[in-house]
Symmetry: D3
Subunit: 201 residues, 6 copies
Amino acid sequence: MNFEIFDTDYITIIFVKDKLNYTGREIEPLWAFKVFNVQKDNIVVFRGKMEVPIDNMKDLKDIKREKDIDIPIKSDDAINFVIEHFDNIDLKTIYLRQRLLVCITKEIIEDNCNLKLRRDGDDLYYNNKKLSVCIACKGIVSSKIHLGINVKSKGAKHIEIIGLEYLGIKDIDKIMKDIAIKYAEEINKIEKDIRKTLPLY
Amino acid sequence: MNFEIFDTDYITIIFVKDKLNYTGREIEPLWAFKVFNVQKDNIVVFRGKMEVPIDNMKDLKDIKREKDIDIPIKSDDAINFVIEHFDNIDLKTIYLRQRLLVCITKEIIEDNCNLKLRRDGDDLYYNNKKLSVCIACKGIVSSKIHLGINVKSKGAKHIEIIGLEYLGIKDIDKIMKDIAIKYAEEINKIEKDIRKTLPLY
Amino acid sequence: MNFEIFDTDYITIIFVKDKLNYTGREIEPLWAFKVFNVQKDNIVVFRGKMEVPIDNMKDLKDIKREKDIDIPIKSDDAINFVIEHFDNIDLKTIYLRQRLLVCITKEIIEDNCNLKLRRDGDDLYYNNKKLSVCIACKGIVSSKIHLGINVKSKGAKHIEIIGLEYLGIKDIDKIMKDIAIKYAEEINKIEKDIRKTLPLY
Amino acid sequence: MNFEIFDTDYITIIFVKDKLNYTGREIEPLWAFKVFNVQKDNIVVFRGKMEVPIDNMKDLKDIKREKDIDIPIKSDDAINFVIEHFDNIDLKTIYLRQRLLVCITKEIIEDNCNLKLRRDGDDLYYNNKKLSVCIACKGIVSSKIHLGINVKSKGAKHIEIIGLEYLGIKDIDKIMKDIAIKYAEEINKIEKDIRKTLPLY
Amino acid sequence: MNFEIFDTDYITIIFVKDKLNYTGREIEPLWAFKVFNVQKDNIVVFRGKMEVPIDNMKDLKDIKREKDIDIPIKSDDAINFVIEHFDNIDLKTIYLRQRLLVCITKEIIEDNCNLKLRRDGDDLYYNNKKLSVCIACKGIVSSKIHLGINVKSKGAKHIEIIGLEYLGIKDIDKIMKDIAIKYAEEINKIEKDIRKTLPLY
Amino acid sequence: MNFEIFDTDYITIIFVKDKLNYTGREIEPLWAFKVFNVQKDNIVVFRGKMEVPIDNMKDLKDIKREKDIDIPIKSDDAINFVIEHFDNIDLKTIYLRQRLLVCITKEIIEDNCNLKLRRDGDDLYYNNKKLSVCIACKGIVSSKIHLGINVKSKGAKHIEIIGLEYLGIKDIDKIMKDIAIKYAEEINKIEKDIRKTLPLY
């Protein structure tokens, strides 16, 4: 596989240049080490189809609702962010990082298309059409986040989706890099912030 | 003091109706219990002067930089959010909540004035003028966040600030409530999210 | 299934009205969300047979001792309490909650029958006959407790058991509700207590 | 000072034979190491006056309510249990241990006087008269519990109290030892329980 | 199986007298409780072949590198230390304990043979030949360490190994006991150290 | 002050070139940020007198034993290592890091002088004379370690000490750098190790 690695203070960014589909198995612990040999907190960014069969899903609410659909999460063309942190955090904290990732994504997309998105928790919408899917979860040794953003508006069957192309965004590569870099910057800045703050008495 | 209490699932919102200045002492553990008798995670919202003497500051970077200024944080009129969580989280997690609060604040202000703000970590800017101050910190029994947003563009001496009024926002009360309610909604939603997510194997 | 839901501050109580057997699979993470759709810490109360095959047992001491018995935990008629907490606690803490549950149960049964029970760790006895079984355990996203109390004195084969009916308790429904409500009250009160306590210096 | 030390698996019991008053300073971290030279989790048991001035109190609810009383916690003769754990637990867990201590205390007193007490959270009552005071709190390196039980029914001014003597208990030394030993047994048994329990998947 | 048990303050030592091979399954949670019935943190010491098939390995780096070898970890005769701690520590902490174990091992071997070893992280070498293998890992209820030290210099195929006999060490039993006892002493001393240390303000 | 900064993956090394005395105040949280402006986990290495008055000591055992001595820790010339970690670890973990630091120090000194030292917990001896002092402690936002190693054999009054010069070590600067760099390497390697290790099931 073709990929580039950018190392930052506390997290490594891996940009995959080849097409790579998201199947839900990429959420497994140590996937990035297996595939890209990275031994650091990491964010892997790639573009391809998104097809998550129900057995690979982690959101039990979705699983219950969509239990009669074989592949509930589907998109013909999407950009994907798979993040792994090893700093012993709990599920609540990884969900906070997930929200921060979604806020960053909203900021960057809006800056690139001059349209206003709506964020509802970890979901992004334009005109009530769904632009993204997102999950956070926790294993024994690490916590992971997946964010998928549709590029084209096609793929999903039981829900109306919209893609970045519809929003007028042409340079998909740039969006991918901007989001990953901005997330890395935020993580690094928080690490610096906790090293300048006096305790409360 | 005149105040209203709104209870939500995991966090109580206290809107203070009287003027109340922010002096930095409100960041102390259990301040909300002492003053408002609330025994729950909480967000206290109030409006007044912001005058934090250097001894009450928690950001050691600012303290070092502004060590010759008596009252480095100053604003003639500001809205203040003082948040306290008791769920045994570490400083990193409370900083993530702080970032989420700042992202929410940006979303709500932009929705109310049709201007674009710039967020840099926990700071908000309009035209490179500083709209807000923010800190997160941790004690033995709880973690706290303070966010102050200028209403008027006056007060600070060594930095150029800007206020909500300059951005064309008239209903300050509404902004105060919107931010507090949205933060409570996010916190409650994350609590629900961690109760629907399958573990990683 | 017929059930009633009572929401309290930090924990939801689900009273199941239909008969429901305890098989050991109810201890799995997110069982209450799957069956009752509850996205909060919860206590599910139900009545039915208790039949836990050795493969579903979590107490390795019992598993070793009773490895030649197919269904070591057996009761013809029992009331069951299945509790799930998501607050990132460790196994030691969930065992403390288990002990508190057993203490509460002892208090309530004694108040309803004017007899004295004996508690030995997480076991309740009357006249050296076993009234209850109990386990606490921990997964990746939540911790769980199961407490089963015999209603009839029959079912178990390799141990002498006793049931609530023998103790003269007639209103089994009331006991079920009393224990669940009291547990919820204790949990809620502890949450309030940690929000009124000054730190140690 | 005259005292006896009994070492158990995970906690050391120190029975003080001389009179020793409880002033609230005994709740400070490492007090037992300073006075009794014990370098283990510990429970110190002693008898004497209880006089806690408002500055030594940790319950901010009581402090607010009794702010005009110099010495709100007062008893002419009381038995005191001061417990310290170093196992990095949070305030919630130490409150659970506190509840367990109070449940044990209730069981032992009832067994010794054939009367029924009422427990309300961490308070014990007989005929609506207060038998005990209790607090749990947390520092940076350890967590502590104090439980004081009146022996005589005198001392407190703004609340009606009752003592063990009124309940007909004569052997105060035995009660002191029984409670401390039983607490140690529970702590040790929980440590064993967490080492026999299979994880949840 | 023939074995001796030595109980120390916080950890039990089990010396297995019979030959016992290390296959990688001994790293599973609660193995020592299953086989030796010990309900305490523990260190099991035994001697035998070491043959770990790739499916039982936990070091994903080794697994990737040696994926074409059936049994990558192999030694004809080795002494093995399998340690289990239940004190809710994270993977980082168990790796620190692993390093401490390896440092102790180096000290003891050097004291017994008057040669200098080289330590590289968790590996010991003599003249660039590998003397040991080591891993630390974490489950839901406990953390575990395995350290294997070659007695003979034979067994491994794709790497040059060296054994204690080559270093001139004759009393293998003594080395086994010395290492286990020293590790137990260190663990116990650290437990004492955390109970004598004032907090930082 | 003259100093050099070497940045490594997870920890920054600060070599102070000027003389700097160790007084015990350097153990305070955020000292390295205040003096050297470093916002990362760090190890500060410096040489000077060591004079710790009893009020700055953290080891309560030493404080009790040496309560009549004004300045119990004294050395005319010593090299000092002050380490700060912010990764939310508990006191037990920082003590494990302390032990690792002392093991590394022993390895490096032995390699440089061809003599054998004796390590007893966190103390180093040569011929029963004390070469070093060491403490680990924990605050609200960070954990810290101090290790002081005598260069000359003079200074302490109530204990016989020995210095590196007596051991024949001439290049003190090299020893300082070697120890700091080796500690940083170990910390970085452990961070890598936790990112290659499969979880236990």
